[in-house]
């Protein structure tokens, strides 16, 4: 069955489940969805905010999808994003450079930070066959606690214990003309980073030898090895790129959408990236579309919460339910298959009857 139909069905079921949740808790789902969509798209400012909310999701989704295509399950996008964002923030807070040099440097360091965080599991996988799911989860928590203690120790804010100092304006991805274009929205250069990343990844996966080799390793490690592909190097390289993209998500989140890094939170975008990737059928364009959709849910929920009594976590619930339906899409496939078989049988039966009557 077509992947996009599967994804759309999963979304449909997720939205229905969300409506049921709203009904059960005594709210009006039609009203809820109306305000949810209005909250995300009502005016240019809200559209800009939706794009900004979607930016880290595009990048984490891309990170997970890239690893997926090469046969690796990068469940540690959260930690890579956190660490990449932390590295970029640290650079932004420490160095006093002109904006034209500082921003590219922060983006680069953010990429490298996330990439290094993913290279460790990649190396352990390639060299010792340690399952990357477990090692990336461990790395998530190492990142969590590292940031938890290092930020207050070296980059503590003036008043708040739980976040770093505010970044100076020159070290942030905000761009005045962009904010003006979207009438004061906090959409920023991060969105362009996301678009460029989508294009580059699409190019690497579909048009280059490197992408072909990485995919070959993903399909069948042993066959790839037999064909002369350096499998171990491919695994490490794949995790490097995947982690780097997740690191960019951290740059977009902590130096674009926010102006400081918070401690004590693993960014939810990391796990949402798995949902984004799954819903987007692991293709760059699919990832982009599903990230925009999730971005809409997340950015509209505040308005919905303000206009109705529905708690904002409805958006998270819907996304979580969508990923469950996407994971169990085989159930839908089986149902459709059964219906088809029955229809064909009916048809034959009908023809038989027709012949008999004649």
């Amino acid at each position: 069955m077509n992947n996009s139909i599967k994804s759309l069905l999963a979304v449909l079921f997720g939205l229905i489940a969300g409506a049921i949740l709203m009904l059960v808790t005594g709210h009006n789902p039609i009203e809820g969805y109306m305000y949810l969509i209005q909250g995300g798209l009502k005016n240019p400012e809200r559209i800009g905010n939706t794009l900004a909310t979607a930016t880290p999701l595009v990048l984490t989704g891309l990170s997970v999808a890239f690893a997926f295509r090469t046969g690796l399950f990068n469940i540690g996008a959260a930690g890579q994003m956190l660490f990449g964002g932390f590295c970029a923030t640290a650079i932004g807070l420490s160095l006093d450079l002109p904006r034209g040099i500082l921003l590219p440097l922060m983006i680069l360091i953010g990429f490298v930070g996330g990439a290094l965080w993913a290279v460790i599991p990649g190396f352990l996988k390639a060299k010792y066959n340690v399952h990357e799911v477990v090692s990336t989860i461990m790395m998530n928590w190492v990142a969590y606690w590292t940031v938890y203690y290092v930020v207050p120790a070296y980059f503590k804010g003036a008043s708040l214990e739980t976040e770093s100092r505010q970044l100076p304006p020159d070290a942030m991805l905000h761009q005045q003309w962009l904010s003006d274009l979207f009438q004061g929205s906090y959409v920023n250069l991060g969105f362009f980073i996301a678009i460029i990343a989508v294009l580059i990844v699409a190019f690497i996966i579909n048009k280059t030898t490197l992408g072909y080799e990485l995919k070959a390793v993903g399909f069948n490690r042993h066959a790839a090895e037999y064909a002369g592909i350096a499998v171990q190097r491919s695994i490490v390289l794949s995790m490097f790129i995947s982690g780097g993209i997740a690191g960019l998500a951290g740059v977009a989140q902590y130096t674009g959408n926010a102006s400081s890094i918070q401690i004590g939170i693993l960014p939810t975008q990391g796990f949402d990236g798995i949902a984004v990737s799954l819903l987007g059928a692991n293709t760059p364009l699919g990832v982009f579309a599903s990230a925009l959709f999730f971005g809409l849910l997340y950015s509209g929920r505040g308005f919905m919460n303000a206009m109705t009594e529905i708690p904002p976590e409805i958006a998270d619930s819907i996304i979580a339910i969508i990923i469950y339906f996407a994971a169990t899409s085989i159930l839908i496939e089986r149902l459709i298959h059964k219906l088809k078989v029955r229809r064909i049988a009916n048809k034959k039966q009908g023809e038989q009857d027709h012949v008999d009557n004649a």
Binding site: L124, V130, I137, M138, W141, E313, I319, I323, A327
Partner: protein
């Protein structure tokens, strides 16, 4: 040093227990052949239902001792029911178990806060009273051991230790345990020997759900006292303990205690001068780094169930 140890030991045990019961549940699941990385979500469900049931009951029966046990039971049942989602996806539908487990984590995290906010507004649910620690009669008088293990004991701790003993017996000393473990090692051979692999895997996953729910509620009723929408990633730490304990009951006990002890030291190191020499960041990341190292060391001779994570297809032999 000794008084310090004496002071923190009871806390280390309290912190170990939720990890222990959750990792023990995961042992059932993985031994039967199903990876369950949804432990964290299942713990959250247990914590939520436990908080809901206990806080509601305490409105009417304040101070009654049985309320807490009803809360534990409800949490275990809720965890078991919730784990059915994972069991159905990974056993009947042969879905990717990692994705399904991730979905469990996400659904649990979002849904419980959504429901809690409908009830309390803030999304936090407080229970008025949890288990009260007591000194174990007679045994607490034994020198050294009494001070370390039998003072400030919680009733839930004893329950979990009893479950540990029972589980070890069930898994390793009964035909049922042998059958369950065979489903995780070589499901086709098990099936040929007449074992119903799918039922066994259902049993494994549901047990894991029930134990995780119990673990989440234990956190609530011993040291936290409040449902806040997460369990601070303890589900993942339980998963780490399972691996570090090399999929064995005794190994899990040692691993969880080790992690519980390390976490306690990290938590109290700032107030106890003799421990302040360790930077807390080292103590906090310690369990995860140790697990990574253990994975490397055991990579050649891992005791992981051989068929864990693989969907069972009866026709594929």
């Amino acid at each position: 040093m000794w008084t310090t140890l004496e002071q923190i030991f009871p806390y280390a045990i309290v912190f170990t227990i939720p990890l222990l019961i959750t990792a023990l549940g995961a042992l059932f699941s993985e031994r039967s052949g199903v990876t369950n990385i949804g432990l964290d979500g299942l713990m959250i469900v247990g914590s939520f239902i436990g908080a809901f049931v206990v806080s509601k009951l305490q409105e009417h029966y304040a101070g009654s001792w049985w309320v807490l046990w009803v809360g534990l039971l409800a949490a275990a049942v809720a965890g078991a029911l919730f784990s059915l989602l994972h069991a159905f996806a990974s056993i009947n539908l042969s879905a990717n178990q990692i994705i399904s487990g991730t979905a469990i984590n996400m659904i649990a995290g979002a849904l419980t806060i959504f429901l809690a906010r409908n009830m309390t507004g803030s999304g936090n649910i407080r229970v008025k009273q949890g288990f009260a620690p007591f000194d174990f009669p007679i045994l607490s008088k034994i020198p050294i051991i009494g001070d370390l293990f039998f003072t400030k004991v919680y009733a839930s701790t004893l329950l979990v230790l009893a479950i540990l003993l029972f589980s070890a017996w069930l898994l390793y000393k009964t035909p049922f345990g042998l059958r369950l473990r065979s489903c995780g090692e070589h499901p086709h051979a098990a099936e040929a020997a007449g074992v119903h692999v799918r039922s066994m895997r259902y049993f494994g996953v549901i047990t894991s759900g029930a134990f995780s729910g119990l673990g989440g509620a234990t956190i609530l009723l011993t040291y936290s006292g409040e449902f806040t929408g997460n369990v601070a990633g303890l589900g993942f730490l339980a998963l780490a303990s399972l691996i570090f304990g090399q999929w064995k009951p005794l190994g899990i006990l040692l691993a969880t205690f080790f992690f519980g002890f390390a976490s306690t030291i990290a938590n109290v190191s700032q107030v106890i001068p003799s421990l302040a020499v360790f930077p807390p960041v080292i103590l906090k990341i310690f369990p995860y780094v140790v697990t990574l190292i253990a994975l490397v060391i055991f990579s050649k001779s891992s005791n992981a169930p051989k068929a864990v994570g693989e969907p069972f297809d009866s026709g594929k032999r």
